[in-house]
């Protein structure tokens, strides 16, 4: 039985636990042993240490949701030299030594969807602010860039007045959003770029009694945002299905291990629709972003 090791950005957060669930479902179905190990904070070094120990243990396959796109390139090469399959999923590793990448949805689609939701909520114009996680998180920064791009291209009435960083901490997000609300009295909307920023921002808006006056949206999971969707502070947020992402990753690895080449469009047992594969970058693409609102907020992840 092959062993598939997954090193998330950090453990102890629901998002990666959901991915782990997907991995385990696929593991059971396709016959693989899943190892889930990760640092307790989103630390590059911690991640590298775990990948290294897994390589030394000669697992069949090891992969990450990377805290930095370049920092694990050397380890990817080392894995390859040891005949271990190296993959990245959710947040990618650069370089030629990554055997498989699995992407939840295209970054562009995700960022554009968020901005479209925002525009809908604020009527297409007004001042908005972004609250992000750590300032160095690669994928968050990329999403922010793409969101700005969408605003510039499609919503000239929207102005981004500030970008703040609150780390992976809901309390900080609440505090920073509170400060934004007083610093920019004409603020129309707040976009939370990571899973703690959205509920944090929503709480600040609710507390300031601005529910309905300042729109909150962003990228987060249904469990975290459910109370705020239920009480109407937040209309919709955007995500993908992390369980499916984990599942797809494990499936992809099993295909690689069995030396079965991917087609451009793949049927994956257990996933609805076709999964796209880009041969140039070795990337499997899960699908379109998922808009979560009152209708489907009961999803559990």
């Amino acid at each position: 039985e092959p062993s598939i090791a997954f090193v998330p950005k950090l453990v102890g957060i629901p998002y990666f636990s959901a991915m782990k669930q997907g991995f385990e479902q696929a593991g059971k179905k396709f016959g693989a042993h899943i190892i889930y190990q990760g640092p307790t904070t989103a630390s590059v070094s911690g991640q590298a240490e775990m990948v290294q120990s897994l390589i030394n243990k000669h697992v069949t396959s090891v992969g990450v949701s990377a805290n930095s796109p370049t920092a694990l390139e050397a380890l990817a090469k080392q894995a390859k030299d040891h005949g271990i399959l190296f993959y990245s999923t959710d947040s990618q590793v650069d370089g030629p030594d990554v055997d498989l990448r699995v992407q939840q949805t295209s970054n562009k689609a995700l960022a554009y969807t968020v901005i479209d939701q925002l525009a809908k909520a604020i009527g297409g114009k007004g001042d908005v602010a972004f609250v992000s996680g750590g300032p160095t998180a690669t994928n968050l920064n990329e999403w922010i860039a793409l969101m700005k791009q969408r605003i510039a291209a499609k919503y000239p009435g929207i102005k981004v007045v500030s970008i703040q960083y609150a780390g992976e901490d809901i309390n900080n997000a609440t505090q920073v959003t509170g400060q934004l609300l007083s610093a920019y009295p004409h603020l129309k909307g707040v976009v939370g770029v990571n899973s703690t920023a959205v509920p944090g921002a929503a709480q600040a808006v609710l507390r300031a009694g601005l529910s309905g006056k300042v729109a909150v949206t962003g990228i987060t999971d249904p469990n975290s945002i459910r109370p705020f969707i239920m009480n109407g502070t937040v209309k919709s947020v955007v995500l993908w299905n992390p369980i499916a992402l984990g599942y797809l990753t494990a499936w992809g690895i099993m295909q690689e291990l069995a030396h079965k080449p991917f087609a451009t469009e793949n049927a994956v047992p257990g996933i609805k629709g076709k999964v796209h594969y880009d041969a140039a970058t070795h990337t499997l693409l899960l699908g379109k972003p998922l808009v979560i609102d009152k209708a489907n907020v009961s999803l559990n992840f």
Binding site: P14, G178, Q179, L181, Y184, P199, R207
Partner: protein, 325 residues
């Protein structure tokens, strides 16, 4: 080396008001005036003041306990993990559907219990406070992970937010009023009550205090347990501020608390410091943090500004004042 080291009275070099409190008060006034002016009134908005008071209160409440602990010559660096763990324990009760009335004591007892663990390790185990609490810092955090698994708790009753944070009494959010009340009580206690004076005596010279019939163990025990209790209370308030328990809840918190206390003039070696100083220290840190967003400074400069302000504000006074050691 300064005059005081040699056993002579201090002679100020600059004609500035004496004492850390006065200096902090001036710093605070300058900051508030500056930010108030350049933020086009945003500083004085209801939302901002509420925000400021709520976050100050949540730091201040454990800082009261930390001040007492540091006055005894100890320190507790596990406060952040303790806050996380009490939030996880109390949050689990909420998640299990317990009522508010049943859960509030859980927060307080859990906090006091964890403080007691620290106290026992330090007093009975004779482990130096930093080491003991560095140890429990990681152990408590581990237990947070075990309690939460990897699910964040979101079933926090909204009434917490309403009661502590949204509702106002006398222009102040309730939590700010509570914090202020606690500071006053603690301050009176330290200044006028026998036990309070024993805290200072102990921190000044433990051996002498022991010889004078003061029982250092009891005072230390009380101090750590009280810090735990207040941290438990702060955990409850944190959930009022933002209704979610994460595995990382409270990380980074302890530095903020210690910074406020030390900034307020409490000596790390014990025996010197006041509650008023702690109150002002807390406010200075929070106002600086607030001002950076209000003045539309690019957030990357946030840390730089905070660092420079602390160095400037404290350096100005410490240069003549810290020599007393």
């Amino acid at each position: 080396m300064s005059a005081a080291v040699m056993g002579a009275p201090k002679v100020p070099r600059l004609r500035l008001p004496q004492g850390r409190e006065a200096l902090l008060l001036i710093t605070l006034a300058v900051l508030v005036a500056g930010i108030g002016m350049f933020s086009h009134g945003a500083f004085w908005s209801r939302i901002n003041l509420d925000n400021l008071f709520v976050s100050s209160a949540i730091t201040l409440i454990p800082a009261i306990g930390m001040t007492v602990v540091m006055l005894t010559g100890g320190i507790d660096v596990s406060t952040g993990s303790m806050l996380g763990l009490t939030a996880a324990i109390g949050g689990s009760c909420f998640a299990a559907g317990w009522s508010l009335a049943a859960t509030v004591p859980v927060f307080l007892l859990a906090g006091a219990g964890l403080g007691l663990v620290n106290a026992v390790l330090i007093i009975k185990g004779k482990i130096p406070p930093v080491i003991a609490t560095l140890g429990t810092l990681s152990i408590y955090r581990m237990i947070v992970f075990i309690v939460l698994g990897s699910n964040w708790i979101t079933q926090i009753p909204p009434v917490l937010t309403r009661v502590f944070v949204v509702d106002h009494v006398l222009w102040l959010p309730v939590v700010a009023l509570i914090a202020l009340g606690l500071v006053i009580v603690a301050s009176l206690f330290l200044r006028y009550f026998r036990w309070g004076r024993h805290v200072y005596a102990l921190g000044n010279n433990e051996e002498a205090a022991r010889l004078a019939g003061i029982r250092p163990e009891r005072i230390k025990l009380a101090a750590y347990v009280m810090l735990g209790l207040l941290t438990g209370f702060a955990a409850l308030l944190t959930l009022g501020q933002s209704p979610m328990v994460q595995t990382s809840t409270g990380s980074g918190f302890v530095l903020q608390v210690i910074a406020a206390v030390v900034l307020g003039g409490t000596s790390l070696s014990g025996g010197r410091g006041t509650m008023a100083g702690t109150l002002l220290g807390t406010l200075v840190v929070q106002v600086v943090d607030d001002g950076i967003v209000l003045l539309h400074i690019q957030p990357f400069w946030n840390g730089v500004a905070l660092g420079v302000i602390i160095l400037a504000a404290i350096g100005l006074s410490s240069r003549r004042d810290a020599g007393g050691m």
